[in-house]
Every structure is written in structure tokens, then in C-alpha cells.
Symmetry: C2
Subunit: 185 residues, 2 copies
């Protein structure tokens, strides 16, 4: 079940470096794009940065709307995660093509991808120089959600192998999130 | 054995989101700091971004020298990875405290941490606004290295459990890099 995550804990949803799917929408158009280069830059209020390349349809939609959702997919979605990074959504609707179900987000116009483990609703903080020079977008996380089968009480669970997150190595090879280990303090 | 990695492949050393150790040096001082918020932002020539908080000794050394090394530690080093994020190196030498052996880097003044799986030598690209506002440093990767037991021919191996990379969840709980899985193309 999708449950709200307190904003002060939002960074935890991507702190371990999962590859994500960025959804975006503007006017009647929407898109989904694979993004490995997404990370937290602040805790509370939470901020992230994401690379959205200049030649992508997602870039157009993010610049038009000032919003996007960072979806955190699981092993079940590996083929979609790879394929969504290989094709453009400008000419074809990738949601239809990959049979992806969506749900409305709570604040932003971009949709949630159903079946993911976590969702960060993001609003761009305009930094034109960084956007132009490095394709880097700074965003406030304005709402955060998680599937309580995967993330509960501020902790990732990974109880079932198919719920593990994906971390892209290269060329469609990923690692899944492995065993949880605790450092001595 | 530490071997050179072509710069076009440097992004692969951190693409899966490992938690890193940043080493820095200026004058007679040096330091090591845990950094989960490090990611690639460009392939070739490779660039990364890293969050280095304003109140850290590493920040002082990076601002003085304009250089740092991103070291990618493995499961063997979990206790050091956690501890190095909990203490400041301003008053005590963390290398001595944690018995960390180092080697000279090839280009920058910051040292390599021995026992890691990969090393990125980085030179800061001055972006004063991003540094001040978000503690975010952009850097060129000027040389890249890997232990060939962990990364060979452009691919991560993870053949031994103790060679797996660490990905911080929170409060000293990490995941290790899990199984390698291949998407259908």
C-alpha cells in the first residue's frame, strides 16, 4: 500500500543510490525516462538533484511544468527500466508501449508509476546556469511516498527478492540491492 | 592490483550509487570523510558532483586545494565508512585513528585510501553559487583507477562477498551490492 513518508525521511528513499524512473507531464503530454543520476543534496527540507539531458522529451516537459516525480522501481520492472532509457517518448507514449499503469500524484502534475517502491514529488528550483551547463536540475521534494511492503517506519525492508531496488552498472546490467549489514557504532 | 581505468569508463565506478569516502589534502593537513551524496553528471570527459557540507574539515581542504579523491570502499571497510562520517578530522587525524593506509594519487594531492575498490581523482570546477547555496561541488574526473579484482574490462565483478560495495540506508545500516541481473534488450 502506498503510504506517505515524512519529508524529513524522504532522502532515505534514494540514499542507497537506486536507478530511478522520472515521470513528467505538461499540457496533454507525459513521459517516463530512466535516470541513474539522481541523488539527495539536503535532508530537511529535502532537496535532490537530477541530470535530465538536453535532448530528451522529459527535459521539455520538466522545463514547461517545473515538476517531476522520481519513481523508485524494483527488480520486477527491470526490463522496463532498461527499455525506458533507450527510447524517446516524443513520438510514442512509453506508458502505453510498456503497459505502465499510473496514478495521480498528490501535489505535482506528473504521475506516479504503479508498482514502484517509492515516489518523490519534486518541484524544480530554477538554477538556469546548472541546467544549461550540466543538465543538472535542483528540486524541492514536496511530498514523498513509499510502498509499505518495501519501506516502513523509516527503513527499507527488501523482504522479498522481487522488491529489491535496481542500481545500473551499464548496458542493461544492474545490481539489485543486496543484504542489509549494520556497522558497529 | 590497482589499474588505470579509461576516463570514458570512469562514471561506471559510481553509477550504481555506492557510498564513498572522500579524501582531501592541503598544506600539511589531510582528511577522509564519508560521502553518500556523490554521483556522475557526465560521461566523457567525466564529471561528478559531490555534497561537502559547509561545516566539515573536508570542505576547508577542498576549497584550499581544489582537489579531492572519491574512494569506493567495500564491505571489509564498513566500520570505517560509518565512523568516518561521524567524527571531524579537524582535531585528530582520522587516518591514524582508523589505521588507514594510503598511497599517493597520480595527479591530485589528496591520497588514495588503500583497500578500496575504485578511485576517482577529481579537480573542482568552480561553481561558487552551487557551493555556497547547496554545498554542491562540480568536479572533473582527471584520472580513474580500480582494483582489478573488483572491476575489470569495464565491468564490476563482485566475485567475493567482502568485495561488494556499500550503499548507506541510514544510521549505519547499509546494503551491499547484490546480485548482477541483466535486462532483456
Amino acid at each position: 500500500m502506498r503510504v506517505s513518508v515524512p519529508l524529513r525521511r524522504a532522502y532515505k528513499l534514494i540514499n542507497h543510490g537506486p536507478t530511478t524512473l522520472i515521470t513528467s507531464a505538461a499540457g496533454t503530454k507525459r513521459n517516463v525516462m530512466t535516470a541513474a543520476w539522481v541523488m539527495a543534496v539536503d535532508f530537511d527540507p529535502p532537496k535532490i538533484v537530477a541530470v535530465v539531458a538536453a535532448d530528451t522529451f522529459t527535459r521539455t516537459l520538466v522545463e514547461q511544468s517545473g515538476e517531476f516525480v522520481v519513481n523508485v522501481p524494483t527488480l520486477r520492472m527491470i526490463d522496463v527500466v532498461y527499455a525506458a532509457g533507450q527510447r524517446s517518448g516524443e513520438d510514442e507514449d512509453k506508458f502505453a508501449q510498456f503497459k505502465l499503469a499510473t496514478s495521480p500524484a498528490s501535489i505535482v502534475g506528473a504521475p506516479f508509476l504503479d508498482g514502484c517502491a517509492a515516489w518523490l514529488e519534486c518541484r524544480v528550483v530554477p538554477e538556469p546556469h546548472m541546467q544549461e551547463r550540466y543538465d543538472l536540475f535542483v528540486a524541492d521534494v514536496v511530498a514523498a511516498w513509499a510502498d509499505d511492503a518495501s519501506f516502513r517506519d523509516g527503513l527499507w525492508r527488501f523482504e522479498r527478492p522481487e522488491d529489491r531496488t535496481l542500481h545500473h552498472l551499464s548496458s542493461g546490467a544492474f545490481i539489485t540491492s543486496g543484504d542489509i549489514v549494520q556497522a558497529k557504532s
